[in-house]
Structure formats: structure tokens, C-alpha cells
Symmetry: C2
Subunit: 369 residues, 2 copies
């Protein structure tokens, strides 16, 4: 375990995204990262913070989140410095979120090495995670690479980016570093199946480590306009005005970091990958949540004061009420019981939850989203 | 439609039973007969009353119900005479309920013909029902028979009594009357399957028509002690003390009318049957409730203010809350959403609800029963 923070290392936690596939547990005003999905008594955001502080030091962790969530984030992370909380006036996707944080760091500490980590993933082996990030840090320090951490795929999935592992890189302190031969964001299912069968692809786990200047150069190569706007916003922020200009922000291009930065970096041969083996899960849907909690053929139960009575049932019950939940003869079921919305589906259909949320949004039912 | 009541005809509605298979919709304090399960805006009890008044006249309908429900029954049936409401101090099964009402009628009107009809069944063709009861009444008037109305079975079920149709009876006004060759209460499933295959058996629909004296004679043949107690209780009631003595009542034998009276009557050759074709359903479980409401492959929704959002779902949703209910990819599902209890099962498992209720009772969870 890393007990001394890595020199000049700054962690970024982009805490955005509503986790629509976990509706009605995850809501616009209570997104996935603000939930305790592991049952350890802490929110995913707090777990992420606790995992990063040993690597960066608490004064070097920055959170980028929506204005609506800034208060919740501060409450969850009392040691987060006010100057390390960037509140997005509107959702602009991950290039803007990671980019503005990297730009702030580049101004404050020109030789900073930044690492961006999703706020709402679960990692079980923290020591192994720390060793991986330390390797990625070593590569970022000695090269101009954008370093990602790749997870061994467990199934063909079109929900992830895939990194093709290339030849080894010789960098001190990074024995498992490899070149990324390719980066393909969210391929179709058939392609994903090929990638998994090939055995040479890893899932991108939403972790990127690089020098701040490298990140900003890559953004500039995608769009010099976007890079300039990010720098301007960061300048104002560093100068003390912590309110991000809503109009300037709204004008930023809305694009995922994976498309704007990661794919081009791999194409240009400046991406590296550290294979990670530390029990990672993005808890992408209720099937994943069930997997995280249940034993085979069993019923997982999440929630306080949950009274559950079953007769031949398996799957997962998530309860945010104190109602009695009774299940008879339903297998691989997903029941999410909240005060104003109830969801009943199956693990197999877990991915379809997002379409239903889209349907609600189109129908104007914003109050339950 | 019978517009003039049948002379001396008195209808009895035993309104007991909690409808455990419809939990958590049906509760101890809000049993099945107090619910509007047809969606016509009236409770099943009220529908039963409305069906019987044209046959008996409103002054000749008696309800036997638990003391806890007497107030609800009166509220539902404002025209029910106070002297026609018998409040059972404790549940003693149908022989006691029907018997005490028959005994009251025998005292008040010695030549009364009584008809007992369940409080919580659904009948769609009221005119056909009236014609059937009129035939049964004609048989009861001219013979010493206990007349039942038999429904054509739609499937093998061990939840019903089976009446084997025997030879015809020649009675004026009862062209379809037949002798009941046999009466078998709740046979096992294999036997039920044989009966249905034979094509000569009808379901007992819980309707019995006979002279009051015939009913009391049949009870006396089962147990002279029970008959004497019922007469004594009826005497006190008729004399003006409408509170049934709890101790005397608690001492009555607890036995279903089907076992104590119907089976022996058939054995002695004094049972008749009128085949009925009037769209009958005892709404025995949520599968039956779904059948009552849905079109094939569809989702039935019961409840006020119910917001339901579905994607590839079929079955039934019963809602007593104003929560949004979302169903994705669940077929033949049963979701019953009440303020303090939620049930999720499938139509196939609908009969298992009773076992779960028994489990709750054993566990001491009386508050949700």
C-alpha cells in the first residue's frame, strides 16, 4: 500500500452521470456515486476518495461535479479543499470535466501528473490498485504517454472501451507497462465478442494517468478552441472566482474523453496501459449490483430496515422504504422499492432500465428521475 | 331478470374469510368482499347484494359476518335491516354461519326457502344467474333437496367441490334440474383431473338453495348438538338480543358446510344441481384476478391513480399507492403494491401466496395481515 503520496500527483474525480441504469435507486438529485452500493456504510464517492488520498494526499484530490451535487460532495468529503471542488453549471461530458481540472492543475503545478478516476466504481483490492496507479504514474513521469489501466474483460460488453495490449515498454517502476496498440470505445456486441475471444484486449476502466500538459496537448489536438476555453475557465478559477461561468461552460464541446482524447492518443501511439487485477466493477446495472452482493441462486438484499420474505426467489431487492417485500417463485428478479417509484425487472433485462428512464424523460416525468 | 321477488325466498350472504390468496390486497381488516375487484366501482359484497335483492327483496337478505366487519358491511349495504345482520363473535366456518341464519329464518318464517351465496364471487350475467336461482328455488319448493348451482369446470383445480351430475328431475319451473350423484369437496389434483376429463362433473360455486327446515335437518343429521346450539342462538337473536353469545358461539363445531351438509346430502340422494352458465369466478387468487381483467399477453392494472410504465411486461399490477410502477421484461408477473407491503410473484405461483401469509402469521407479523 502506498503510504507516501506520489510526488506531484493530483487525482481528479469526475463525479457526473446519473447512473440511469440504476434508476429508481439512482436519481438526478441522488446519483449513483452518492449511494452506498457496497454495503460498507460509505458512498461510492467516499470510497473513491479514501482510495485516492494515499496516492495523492487529501490536498491533491479534485472533484468535478454538477452544481446540484456540490453540497452533497462537500458533505461526503469534509477534507476536500474548497479550491479543489469544481462545480459544473451544466453537464458537458467528461472531456470538459477532466480537462478543466487538468487545466487548473497545469496552472497551479505545471509539472503535475494527473490521474482521473470514476467516482462510482467499486474496487476490492486497494493495495493492488495502488500498485497499478504507481506503475501508471511512473510511465507518465518518464514518457509523454496517456496511461490507462486495463481490466480483463469477463464477458463481451458494448458498454466499455477496449484497449488492445501492444508491446512492452521499458520504464523503471512499471514492470507491467505495455503500449496500447488500439483503443476502441464502446464497440458493437459482435466486435466486443471478437475482442474478448482474441484475449489481447482489456476493458478501459475509466482511469487515465498522464502529465497535465500531456492531457491538455491531447485536448488541443482534438480542438484548440476547446483547449483555449478550458484554459480560460481554469485561469478564472485559479484566480479566485470559483463560480464557473455558465455561458462559457455551456459553449464547450460535449464529448466523452474516450472519443476526444483516448482513441486519438492510441492512434498516435502515445497511449500506454497497465493491466490491473484488483477486483473492479463499474456497477453498471442492477445485474452488476446483484453480482456484487449475492451468492449463487440467492437473493441479495440492499437497504436499511428491509423486511424481505421469500419463497423460492433469487435476484436482488433494493429497498429504500420500510415496507415488507414478499417474493414468491421469481428467479433472477430485480425489485427496487423507493418511496415514489417501484421497479420490477430481471437481471437479464437490467440494461433496459435506461430506455425506460429515457421514456420517462420524454414523457415529462422529471419528478421521479 | 327477476323483477318480482320469489315468494318466501330468503338470501343468506356469509361474508367471512380473509381471502389470504389475495394478500396484501386483501387484509384481515379489509377482506376480499370489501374490495372492488371488478373495477365497477362497487365492492364484491355490494355486487352480491345487488344481485340478490331482485330475487329476495331487500328485507329478505341476511348477512353473516365477523364482528370486526359489521360496520363496514352496514356502510356498504344501507338497506340491510339491522335484524338481518348477524355478527359472528369469532370465525366458526360456514356451517355455523349459514346454519344460524337458516335457524333465524326457520323461526321467523317456518316455510322459508333459503339460498346461501358467497359474498366475494364475481358473476357477469345477472339475468342468467337469476334464472338459475329461480330453477333451484322451484326444486327446493317441490322437494326435500339441497339444491346447488354447478359451474362447468375450466381446469382441474383442487380448490373447489365437484358435483357429479346425475339423472334429470321432473320439477315444474326447473327444466335443467338434475340429481347430484356425488359431491366431493376439494379432491386432490389427480382426482380433479379425472373429474374434468369425465365431463360429468361441475364445480360447486358455493351456492346452496333449500327449505330452511331441510338445511337444519341436514345439520341435525351431522350433529344434533350443533343444530341445537344454532337453534338456541337463533332464538335469542330473534327475541331481540342481536349480540351473539361469544362463548356459546365459540363452542360450535368448526366445519365447512360442504363437508357437514353437502357431501352427506349427496350421499343420501337428496342433493340436486342446476347447471349454471353465467360467467362465474371466485377470484381465488391473483391469477384469477388477472384473468378477470386482462386480454391475452397484456398487463392488467387495478387501482386508482396507478401510474404504470412497462416495457415487455404482462400479468397484473394491483396498486393501492400513487407510486410509479415500472415493469421491464417480466411476463405473467403479479405485483401488488400497498402502503406497507409489496408482493411480487407470478400468475403460476399465485396459489403460493396463502403459504406466505401463513408464514407471516406464524412469524407474528399480524400487523401486515
Amino acid at each position: 500500500m502506498a503510504t507516501t503520496p506520489l510526488p506531484n500527483f493530483h487525482a481528479i474525480i469526475p463525479a457526473g452521470g446519473s447512473g440511469a441504469r440504476l434508476w429508481p435507486l439512482s436519481r438526478a438529485d441522488q446519483p449513483k456515486f452518492l449511494h452506498d452500493l457496497t454495503g460498507n456504510g460509505h458512498t461510492l464517492l467516499r470510497n473513491t476518495w479514501d482510495r485516492l488520498v494515499p496516492l495523492a494526499g487529501s490536498e491533491n484530490v479534485t472533484v468535478v461535479t454538477g452544481v446540484a451535487h456540490a453540497r452533497h460532495v462537500s458533505a461526503q468529503l469534509p477534507d476536500l479543499l474548497p479550491g479543489n471542488l469544481l462545480a459544473e453549471p451544466s453537464p458537458r461530458e467528461s472531456t470538459a470535466a477532466i480537462g478543466v481540472a487538468a487545466a487548473v492543475m497545469a496552472i497551479r503545478t505545471p509539472d503535475a501528473i494527473v490521474g482521473s478516476f470514476a467516482a462510482d466504481h467499486v474496487i476490492t483490492d486497494t493495495d493492488a490498485f495502488h500498485r497499478c496507479v504507481a506503475e501508471a504514474y511512473a510511465v507518465a513521469q518518464s514518457t509523454d504517454a496517456l496511461v490507462t489501466i486495463g481490466m480483463r474483460p469477463t464477458e463481451p460488453s458494448s458498454a466499455f472501451g477496449y484497449v488492445e495490449v501492444g508491446e512492452g515498454i521499458t520504464v523503471g517502476g512499471a514492470p507491467s507497462a505495455k503500449k496500447a496498440a488500439r483503443f476502441v470505445e464502446k464497440p458493437d456486441w459482435a466486435t466486443a465478442t471478437q475482442y474478448v475471444a482474441a484475449g489481447t484486449f482489456l476493458w478501459n476502466a475509466g482511469m487515465f494517468i498522464a502529465r497535465a500538459s500531456v492531457v491538455l496537448d491531447l485536448i488541443r489536438q482534438h480542438s484548440s478552441e476547446l483547449a483555449a476555453s478550458l484554459h480560460s475557465l481554469a485561469r478564472t478559477f485559479v484566480d479566485g472566482d470559483t463560480n464557473i461561468d455558465p455561458e462559457l461552460w455551456a459553449g464547450l464541446e460535449k464529448i466523452a474523453f474516450d472519443y476526444a482524447v483516448a482513441e486519438p492518443a492510441a492512434e498516435r501511439g502515445v497511449m500506454a496501459v497497465i493491466p490491473g487485477e484488483f477486483g473492479w466493477d463499474d456497477v453498471g446495472d442492477f445485474a452488476a449490483l446483484a453480482r456484487l452482493h449475492s451468492t449463487v441462486g440467492d437473493l441479495a438484499v440492499l437497504g436499511k430496515n428491509t423486511k424481505v420474505l421469500t419463497d423460492g426467489a433469487s435476484g436482488i431487492v433494493v429497498s429504500q422504504t420500510d415496507r415488507l417485500v414478499s417474493l414468491i417463485g421469481v428467479t433472477d428478479i430485480v425489485v427496487v422499492d423507493t418511496p415514489d417509484a417501484l421497479l420490477v425487472t430481471t437481471k437479464e433485462n437490467a440494461q433496459r432500465v435506461k430506455a425506460l428512464v429515457d421514456m420517462l424523460r420524454l414523457g415529462g416525468d422529471e419528478d421521479v428521475l
